[in-house]
Symmetry: C2
Subunit: 607 residues, 2 copies
Amino acid sequence: MGCLRGGEFGAAGARIMATKQNDAMSTLRIALAQTNTTVGDLDGNVATVMDFTRRAADSGAHLVAFGEMVLTGYPVEDLVFRESFVEASRHAVADLAAGLAAAGLGEIVVVVGYLDADGPARQGPDASRDVGPRDSLAVLHRGEVVTRYHKHHLPNYGVFDETRYFAPGNTLQVVRVGGVDIAFTVCEDIWQPGGPFAVAGRAGVGLVVNINASPYERNKDERRLPLIRRRAAEANATVAYVNIVGGQDELVFDGDSMIVAADGELMARAPQFDETLLVADLELPDAGEVSAVNGAAMSVEHTTVSSQPPPPLEKPVEAMLSKPMSDLAETWNALVVGLRDYVIKNNFPSVVFGLSGGIDSAVVAALAVDALGPDRVYAISMPSRYSSEHSRDDAADLARRTGLHYDTEPIQSVVDSVMAEVALSGVAVENLQSRVRGLILMALSNQHGHLVLAPGNKSEYAVGYSTLYGDSVGGYAPIKDVVKTLIFALARWRNAEAERLGQVPPIPENTIAKPPSAELRPDQVDTDSLPPYEVLDHIITGYVDNDAGRDELVDAGRDAAVVDRVLRLIDTAEYKRRQSAPGAKISGKSFGRDRRLPITNRFREGR
Amino acid sequence: MGCLRGGEFGAAGARIMATKQNDAMSTLRIALAQTNTTVGDLDGNVATVMDFTRRAADSGAHLVAFGEMVLTGYPVEDLVFRESFVEASRHAVADLAAGLAAAGLGEIVVVVGYLDADGPARQGPDASRDVGPRDSLAVLHRGEVVTRYHKHHLPNYGVFDETRYFAPGNTLQVVRVGGVDIAFTVCEDIWQPGGPFAVAGRAGVGLVVNINASPYERNKDERRLPLIRRRAAEANATVAYVNIVGGQDELVFDGDSMIVAADGELMARAPQFDETLLVADLELPDAGEVSAVNGAAMSVEHTTVSSQPPPPLEKPVEAMLSKPMSDLAETWNALVVGLRDYVIKNNFPSVVFGLSGGIDSAVVAALAVDALGPDRVYAISMPSRYSSEHSRDDAADLARRTGLHYDTEPIQSVVDSVMAEVALSGVAVENLQSRVRGLILMALSNQHGHLVLAPGNKSEYAVGYSTLYGDSVGGYAPIKDVVKTLIFALARWRNAEAERLGQVPPIPENTIAKPPSAELRPDQVDTDSLPPYEVLDHIITGYVDNDAGRDELVDAGRDAAVVDRVLRLIDTAEYKRRQSAPGAKISGKSFGRDRRLPITNRFREGR
């Protein structure tokens, strides 16, 4: 096998080399490495690539593909602007190529995502739009970088800021491996019709590899398969889609790597959230004669790794065909992974939080135990004079069910000592209780190194139903993007799942059944201040997730006065959200990078 | 005068209509309205435009230009995605046109920035890149919108996310007013050569109006004048540059509106930070015969408001030619304006903060008194057993000097009550003191409605030398982007300025002279934990503001061990910064929207 560089054509709209497929087919064994990367941990990420490449080679694969930016982690955000970081990434890819060859892994073709650059980053009005950092893919073989591809389509919506960082690519790379022409693309490229997939189709490739760092959101997996099918049809080629897994600050990557044939048949699918090596034998058309085709939308660069079909495989592999999880299972897993990876990747030994007996902290406790095991989880009951007996019982019950560390720190004496110094009344007293709890949790964190978890849910963050520096304290907010009605559904699902598996349900039934209360004054319940959660969550989803206006919400059948009150609460709580801890995004629009609103904002809907 | 619509040419690269200038000149009186806008307050912003238009008309001006997005405020961020908000902006511009005519202000040509849209916003992979919301300019005359221009160049770096929001314009608007052809542009358009200014030059216009919302940063005013001169030369036309003033969350707009002739002569300049109507008589070339020119980079649309030269002006105006402020004066004013507008635009009656006797809270106090007057400023001394006598004296001295409200709330009894409940030692005890202070300030805020000010400076935010939910509590952080060495320089400048004006210097000399200390344990000084501030601030500026790597900083002459320690501190404090209050940006790169780094990030320089 030689590494021959084929024809290169400069200008868009120019002729490209296309292979006329003949009827001969070869079988390539393709591996997709669905791995968990850590931002900035280049050594660790390279080690993971080495490990999975060895496993792929051992399985007999001809090619193994990893996710987008697998060497740097994703997203690296403004690290892009530091030349030392860009250099570290460029060195990592060169060192990886050499390291693979030195480890006897030079023959398998390895596809990795990394950060490259051909000029300074785009930081001001004078910066060039055409050069700069690139969201890149490298094809490695026999110790060398055979070719590089730069992502064409840069998402700049939602949580993505890629036009802030990257210059777009404008060339398609086609590499002949085992006689089959393979095109390479990165993430967003698959969302756009008429782009690299269309040109890959005109170039007559047999396979398009698409490497991703595609964050989870509810129901996104239901969009992926039809999308990949559309692109497979456009390219008239098999598509191998590989995504990373794991948590990174507000994002959770769910994997769901898969292979779809040109006719839309789902050939292989990896499980969500878990590190997996997905291996499949693909019958792909041999590249035939190469001839020029006019009028492609971009230039195409051909490279040859091996032009001869590989020898027949000794024993075919049966590709994994995982079933997608149910919506609730998937959401629960996303929350567990987000929490686990925040704790592990930031080197925290343990977590601590207030366990009130209410539904939110109970779900946080169950998630934490699922993520870390009970021995790394510390729950503190911090009763005041308004805490009910049943709340303390429910908290203790949960501790028994899950086996987490459980302790009690009464707050009344501290509250009284503040009241003795400062004259307070009403809401100031309610908030004081919450802030004393926050202060105790932070003191325990400082003393023992625990990460504090904030138990707020999306409904509370939306309307500001929380105390700043009180129940909002914490380095991570596991259920920040989960509305209250979904919290209840998840709690019920988790308990049912335990019963299905013959385990003890973690959440006491009374915690699920009783009306939610902050217990900051006598006989308080949430519905004293808020509409029923079914109504509230519907308005929140409309206004926050879908940018619906006031009239649209009222027309949808909601009471105008309730809508007006809720929107007012959402608008004026922006300052609290701005100081909140990160938490995993699971919805179409989470609070954080996903939704950027001014604090100073006098616009009020419906006036 | 008639409103005749001229030739319109569709395609880029096509012919445009250009006026061949003859030697005749007319004098137009041009007014630039440098106003303070509030995001979302469309009614209030329209009222301000009406008010300044009346003043401009009274001064005899033929045209008055306002800033970018003056009707909506700037930046409106994700409000762009709410159709109800876009509709409100579109209605505001139509209502304004009608309202001006109804108020007898129909003859003066009014130029305003606002939010327009010709399609849904760009929120996902399927969104169109060619239609969507626009950062627009409208020219109003006789109750109608005569023409609209959409900003061509969209900044997407630093604090700006404009490709997230807007579709770019691709047409240049030329309007004939008083026989003079005037082209219109928005903000970033002036930073790019070869864009609308170049085409305006080919179209032979006499004046280019550029409307801005250009945030302050130190030394930016020194870049503006040369920039405007370059574009005036490129357009071979006079350039009228108008910018807004005032604070909006993390941004302060400093005005500095000016008019520069084609030959580079500075004709008029408004003072920084203050609302101003800048009026100048400009001798501009009459537009002559119109003929077609080939090969422009964009299409040009001509409109005529009035083709005849105006009658000679009765009495010429002498244009204001303000001198730029000194660097320290300018910085102080930016901080005052940022703080004042955050308080006023968010409707807070007053501010409260801890006054320790140290330099940071003293500068915050002086800024607050300058921004709001002493009667809206509440300072609390919260001594613990480690607070020195001189600190309390210095705090009381400052209170006497400035006349702010001053009170004392000892914290020791509360600290003791927590220590009685939870076994704490070391840093946990230091942080506890700080958190009890935060808790007391928040209780006073809840009880009295004060906005809490956080006294942290940029050096502390950088290295995490603060207590989360302790001294970091607050809704606004006035000196967040000011490094410690600059804090001292500003304190000295403010005192000298007071002496120059024959007033009492606000900051006690001892506060400036003594070594900085957090006073959380006996005899503590900052240099126990940190390098001297001269060294620290130099490293921070290199690493944070300029993205220098570790080797670059060491090569610049810094001790390698010190650099390594400081970079490590900066990297690992990201989680604290993420939960911090907003504060005015004054540097090249502030913490906030300007610098976006992952919390979970294992990259360490120099490993």
